[in-house]
């Protein structure tokens, strides 16, 4: 039963990639900023959940890092958008991301112990792979403002570093 729930949670989060399906028209900077910011907030929420449920030191340390790093990027993004006087603009991609993340949190909430740990870390692997691809293929190429492009590149470096970390932990939890 627990194994089945873990698989369900994994699939729920994995379909997040569908949210990044190429849109018909090019995204503007306000929309790109909203998507990137939303992705960061989703990972912070997932980390909060992990910190409330997990007792595994490696998983908790990973979640602490996710919270700290994504908050740092989002703080930079907020400062940049204020400076540029750009208001982040909700769009179908960011909305789909948020909805899927809410569903995933609900599924993960049903899991406990090592089953939760494995599902959370596996979701982190999938989520970071998905966001990396979106940053590389869509968000960074579409961004017009040079400072936003630069911050998105920093975000990509961060997501890549997190992906390596998540894969290492996933391996250790097997």
């Amino acid at each position: 039963m627990m194994r089945k729930l873990a698989a369900t949670a994994f699939l729920a989060f994995a379909v997040g990639s569908a949210a990044f399906a190429k849109e018909d028209s090019k995204l503007n900077d306000a929309q790109i900023a909203h998507i990137a910011y939303t992705a960061g907030q989703i990972d912070i929420a997932a980390a909060d959940q992990a910190l409330s449920k997990s007792h595994a030191p490696a998983v908790r340390a990973f979640a602490e890092t996710m919270k700290r790093d994504h908050k740092a990027v989002n703080d930079q993004a907020t400062a940049l958008l204020n400076r540029l006087r750009v208001k982040p603009e909700a769009n179908p991609t960011s909305t789909a991301l948020s909805e899927q993340a809410t569903h995933s949190l609900a599924e993960l909430a049903k899991l406990e112990g090592s089953t939760f740990d494995r599902a959370y870390i596996q979701n982190e692997v999938t989520f970071h792979q998905t966001v990396n691809a979106a940053l590389q293929n869509t968000l960074i190429p579409d961004a017009d403002n040079a400072d936003l492009k630069s911050l998105l590149r920093t975000g990509l470096s961060l997501f890549q570093a997190h992906l390596i970390h998540a894969k290492q932990i996933a391996q250790s939890l097997r």
Binding site: T65, R68, L158, I164, H165
Partner: protein
């Protein structure tokens, strides 16, 4: 008079030693150096050349993220908040492997050689 000349000669030799010895010891012992490794964009910067036992490594975190400089052999574990710096003195020869505990993909190594006496 002869006694006086002898004393003067000794005095001159002592003075020469005083002036010469600091320079001689400096070249022979090689003073310890301070090297800097900059942390930025989720990676460790260029590794200094010719690091010797007794040298100091200063780690400067120019990233917006918190990092650590942690030795694989546990000889040091430096917490580096954004904008912070910390230092460690190199204690032994060989390959010094280090990484960031928060971002294990961030790694580096320094080759440490012995100090010339």
């Amino acid at each position: 008079m002869a006694q006086g000349n002898h004393s003067l000669g000794l005095c001159a030799v002592a003075m020469m030693l005083l002036f010469v010895s600091p320079e001689t010891s400096a070249t022979a012992r090689q003073p310890a150096k301070t090297h800097v490794i900059v942390v930025g964009n989720l990676s460790f910067g260029a590794v200094p050349n010719s690091v010797r036992v007794g040298d100091t490594i200063v780690w400067i975190n120019k990233d917006i993220f918190r990092h650590t400089a942690t030795a694989r052999d546990n000889s040091f574990d430096l917490d580096l908040a954004p904008g912070a710096q910390a230092q460690t003195v190199v204690k032994k020869t060989g390959i010094l492997d280090y990484y960031c505990r928060f971002h294990p993909g961030m790694t580096g190594k320094i080759s440490v050689v012995r100090r010339l006496q």
